[in-house]
């Protein structure tokens, strides 16, 4: 299976870099997501991302007040990017392992298409495994 098979929708929860970690926490809990995209300031700027892990490691563990911390100071930026949609899922997973992340930003022709996560990979692999185990020789395509 390839990266293009697990693409999702563009991220809907997007915050500005000068908002606070508390805004990110609120967005995470209220939207039931574990990461929030940080928008670019202008066309020369890079996108960032903030995850529950960033908030725990860089805000809470340091004893900082989430309401006092700007997202631009704690977000991961620039994103770890994948732009070859034909790449095998194995290499998508390897890229995550190499970078120590659980999410990759997928760009196509300069546009942010979506964020793929380790859960997306796991679900795709699960489908494949069920396909080959459950129905005798009825192997899933690809």
């Amino acid at each position: 299976m390839e990266l293009r098979d697990i693409l999702g929708k563009p991220p809907t929860v997007v915050l500005k870099a000068d908002m606070t970690a508390l805004d990110a926490i609120t967005a995470m809990v209220e939207n039931k997501v574990r990461s929030v995209l940080i928008d670019r300031d202008d066309a020369q700027d890079a996108y960032g991302i903030i995850t529950t892990r960033d908030i725990i490691n860089d805000v809470i563990a340091h004893g900082l007040e989430p309401a006092q911390v700007r997202l631009r100071d704690v977000c991961s930026k620039p994103l770890v990017v994948a732009n070859n949609l034909d790449i095998d899922l194995r290499w998508v997973a390897k890229k995550m392992a190499n970078e120590g992340v659980a999410r990759l930003a997928v760009f196509e022709g300069g546009d942010l298409k979506c964020i793929v996560s380790d859960v997306d990979i796991l679900k795709a692999v699960a489908e494949e495994l069920k396909g080959e185990g459950g129905k005798g020789s009825g192997r899933g395509k690809k």
Partner: protein, 148 residues
């Protein structure tokens, strides 16, 4: 009332973590995780001298899929983390729970109270605890608008 309870005690969830046998294959682990949307599975100990282990989505993606290994052949025991990262003081402030997670690079910690298993605390528990305590402070600040 301004002092919020931000201790470990207030955050621990006494949920039953789904478990999987150490000798099960990663394939079984993947299917169990995705079916129930529980991306961490506890690996019970074999005897009282053994330690508990844990296998997470990260272990599977990093150690099996990224290395193109066959999930049907790799055993859970080959990729799990063991023993668990543990905290034993329920009065610990959220800050130190977060620090323990950051230092050990995990997002789930098992909590024991006087030698007995008490529950788990996850990164999501911490985020939610902060969210609700901040929300409570806000409500307290505008207490006259709150009717309940």
């Amino acid at each position: 009332m301004t002092e919020m309870d931000r201790t470990l005690r207030s955050m621990v969830k006494d949920f039953k973590m789904p478990s999987i046998d150490a000798n099960a294959t990663v394939k079984e682990a993947i299917i169990r995780m995705t079916d129930k949307e529980d991306y961490a599975l506890l690996v019970p100990r074999q005897d009282p001298h053994d330690a508990y282990g844990i296998v997470t989505k990260r272990d599977i993606v990093y150690k099996v899929i990224a290395e193109a290994k066959d999930p049907g052949k790799v055993k859970v025991k080959d990729i799990m983390s063991k023993p668990l990262v543990i905290l034993t003081s329920l009065d610990l402030d959220v800050r130190w729970v977060a620090k323990a997670m950051a230092d050990s690079g995990v997002s789930i910690i098992a909590v024991f109270d006087k030698g007995d298993f008490y529950g788990f605390v996850t990164s999501t528990c911490i985020i939610e605890a902060i969210y609700y305590s901040e929300k409570r402070i806000k409500l307290d600040d505008q207490a006259n608008y709150v009717s309940c």
